[in-house]
């Protein structure tokens, strides 16, 4: 048995071919934890956990778990009975699975055998005995829900301990969520998050859409990661259709993705300076970001690339004059960034706020399954553009960013490193853009099937799982890395002071909409 072969744990049914290597392993419930343990022992991480309703085709429910090891994705499938479906929890091995399991219960009624049975996505818009993603869920009409006032937060007691309730509406222009701090003075003993406020039924909506066209909804799972999600969606759909977009399309997708990364990193670096009292940083970085976004408008006809990636390719081609215009902007941005990076490094006040704040050491990061840019700032080096790698990145030699410190400063440093790397990649992508068509032919009808897409968005790995039947979507689960990283912020806050929360939170800048769906 080779190290990455899990045949002793379950039936390895197929090696799917597509843009990324995928192994599908079917296991009986009693082997689930052993298999997950074997993947964990190989350094594997949890990417996603979701379920689907298979009762109309004579089955029960299907639980799927996406793990990633050094070879690629391992999809674990567990068939559950139609009546009282339940399975052994894997939250003991992968703590991030806890919330995913609770969400799978809220939406489909499949229950993990775990101690925490509190709702996660469900507040009170629907009752606890109804499951929106079951195909026989009654679609309405709906009354106005009462506020969710009864969620059982974990209470911390003791002399001088008091609670601070923040949200769902926050002071700034950010997404809604609730944070419950247990504090003594201004020191945080415990933070507990309560999300789900922006749950708007995206997965149910997917199941009402034709497969060609639903990339528009995918792009709006988390609007700041529109390219990552629409690309991952198209990758999954293209796997089902057995097609591969022409080279130029793949290169343009990568260019869009790097520009999305640059825009978000610029925005966050400015906001981090601002949150530490260095307002000039916000002005400088938001100026650079606006320059980039305006160049998007000139080159691609849109400030944000919401509808740029389509099945089979990209929506519009890049002409020669615009290609040169984008290339010509890169050196200027590089030199401005070098200067701002030096200013950040040399600013004692900033470094004082950044250093040692919101620390997640590599051991904790590994244990909790931290991924993406925050993971790389805590010694977790995986970057889907390299591991497992997919076209066109497999030919570009992506240099991964990294730090072992795990504090706000490390996450700032990783953002700077990734900005320079994205600019380097953008230059290559623009200079050597292949001259094939920018989109390829699509089949008349989408075959029935199951496909996966994995794209390294600016926050981390974005996964889309897609099942089609009769030309439409049977089930689509878009998965944002914020699922894995939100619980880690609770740990990063322990022992820090309340006024540092905005800084720590911003250094991760996780998605609410992407995890609430």
């Amino acid at each position: 048995m080779s190290v990455m072969d899990y045949t002793t744990h379950g039936e390895v049914v197929e090696m799917q071919t597509g843009a990324i290597p995928v192994r599908l392993v079917r296991v009986p419930p009693e082997r689930l934890q052993v298999l997950c343990g074997a993947v964990d022992a190989q350094g594997g991480v949890l990417q996603a956990l979701w379920a689907s309703d298979q009762r109309m085709t004579g089955g029960g429910f299907l639980l799927r778990i996406a793990l990633q090891d050094d070879v690629g994705l391992v999809i674990v499938e567990l068939a559950l009975p139609a009546e009282s479906p339940s399975y052994p929890s894997i939250a003991g091995l992968f703590p991030a699975a806890g919330r995913m399991e609770r969400a799978a219960y809220d939406l489909l009624g499949v229950r993990a055998e775990a101690s925490d049975q509190r709702p996660w996505i469900r507040h009170q818009a629907w009752s606890e005995d109804r499951f929106p993603l079951r195909h026989d869920f009654d679609l309405g009409p709906f009354g106005g829900p009462p506020a969710d006032e009864s969620y059982p937060f974990v209470r911390v007691t003791g002399d001088g301990v008091h609670e601070l309730a923040v949200g769902p509406v926050h002071a700034g222009t950010i997404e809604p969520g609730h944070f419950r701090f247990s504090v003594v003075g201004e020191k945080v003993l415990r933070l507990e998050e309560r999300l789900g406020y922006t749950h708007k039924g995206i997965e149910k909506r997917f199941a009402m859409l034709p497969a060609f066209g639903a990339e528009r909804l995918a792009a709006r799972v988390s609007g700041d990661s529109a390219v990552a999600f629409s690309w991952a969606y198209c990758m999954a759909l293209e796997m089902i259709c057995g097609i591969s977009p022409p080279l130029r399309a793949l290169w343009l997708r990568a260019l869009y993705l790097e520009r999305e990364r640059i825009a978000n990193h610029l925005g966050d670096l400015g906001a981090l300076g601002q949150d530490a009292g260095f307002g000039i940083a916000l002005a400088q970085f938001s100026r650079l970001k606006e320059n980039l976004i305006r160049a998007n408008q000139s080159a691609f006809g849109a400030r944000y690339l919401m509808d740029a990636v389509i099945p089979g390719g990209v929506a519009t081609d890049l002409d020669e004059s615009r290609r040169w215009m984008l290339l010509a902007m890169i050196p200027g941005l590089e030199s401005e960034l070098s200067l701002l990076s030096e200013i950040y490094d040399d600013h004692a006040g900033l470094q004082d706020r950044f250093s040692g704040t919101g620390c997640v050491n590599p051991r904790l990061a590994r244990q909790l399954g931290l991924v993406g840019l925050a993971g790389r700032a805590s010694g977790q080096g995986r970057d889907a553009r390299r591991d497992p790698g997919y076209a066109p990145y497999d030919t570009l030699d992506v240099h991964p960013a990294g730090s072992l410190e795990g504090d706000v400063r490390a996450r700032v440093s990783v953002r700077f490193q990734e900005l320079f790397e994205s600019l380097r990649l953008s230059r290559i992508l623009l200079e050597r853009l292949p001259s094939t068509p920018h989109r390829g032919p699509l089949p008349d009808k989408v075959p029935d099937g199951f496909g996966l897409g994995l794209v390294e968005g600016w926050r981390g790995p974005v996964l889309v799982s897609l099942e089609t039947a009769g030309g439409t979507i049977h089930r689509c689960h878009p998965h944002d890395p914020s699922w894995q990283n939100w619980p880690v912020i609770e740990h990063a806050m322990i022992g820090n002071i309340v006024p540092d929360f905005p800084l720590i939170n911003k250094s991760f800048n996780l998605s609410y909409s992407g995890q609430d769906l």
């Binding site: 222009t173 749950h199 909506r205 938001s286 400030r303």
Partner: protein, 170 residues
């Protein structure tokens, strides 16, 4: 420190007049005079994300960048609804945010204006109406202005806010 100052000087003033959209000839000083006449002070905006994908938020951030510099014209974002004249709402209103949104609206002093920003806030957008989404902001609150777009560009958001200023008191 010297490097920071040099960078500030090198960047210079890059703010564009809020009039660049062509809607408000006269520029910033005229706008400030009008604000002072109508409101007697700066116009205060409170933003609430009622279920957005976070796309519109990026463009709301942009109206405060040095190019659009909304704050430079005496219009600012405030942290509490109790200080606000205008409520900027993004997203379809999720059923889980419906109560919070109404509480924010109720906490604002009269007179108050509601501006629905983005296609989702206008119509429900790609998310529509469903078990978890109420759809448009107008299905939950009285709306005074709508700004379509996905996301709407900063100029469009600015125009809607400025048109509130022009209308003045209710």
């Amino acid at each position: 420190m010297l490097r920071t100052l040099k960078q500030i000087i090198r960047t210079g003033l890059i703010s564009e007049s809020p009039a660049s959209g062509g809607e408000d000839p006269g520029g910033t000083s005229k706008l400030q005079a009008r604000l002072h006449r109508r409101f007697g002070r700066a116009l205060a905006i409170r933003h609430v994300d009622a279920g957005s994908c976070n796309g519109c938020e990026l463009e709301i951030h942009a109206v405060n960048n040095p190019y659009y510099n909304l704050e430079g014209s005496g219009i600012r974002f405030v942290a509490s609804p109790r200080h606000a004249d205008v409520l900027l709402v993004t997203g379809p209103v999720s059923r889980h945010m419906e109560t919070a949104l109404k509480l924010v609206y109720d906490a604002m002093p009269d007179p108050k204006w509601v501006v629905a920003v983005g296609n989702c806030a206008c119509t429900g957008g790609v998310f529509g109406v469903g078990y978890a989404s109420c759809g448009s902001v107008a299905s939950v609150l009285p709306v005074d202005r709508v700004v379509s777009g996905c996301p709407p560009p900063p100029e469009a958001i600015l125009r809607a806010v400025l048109s509130v200023v022009r209308t003045g008191r209710k």
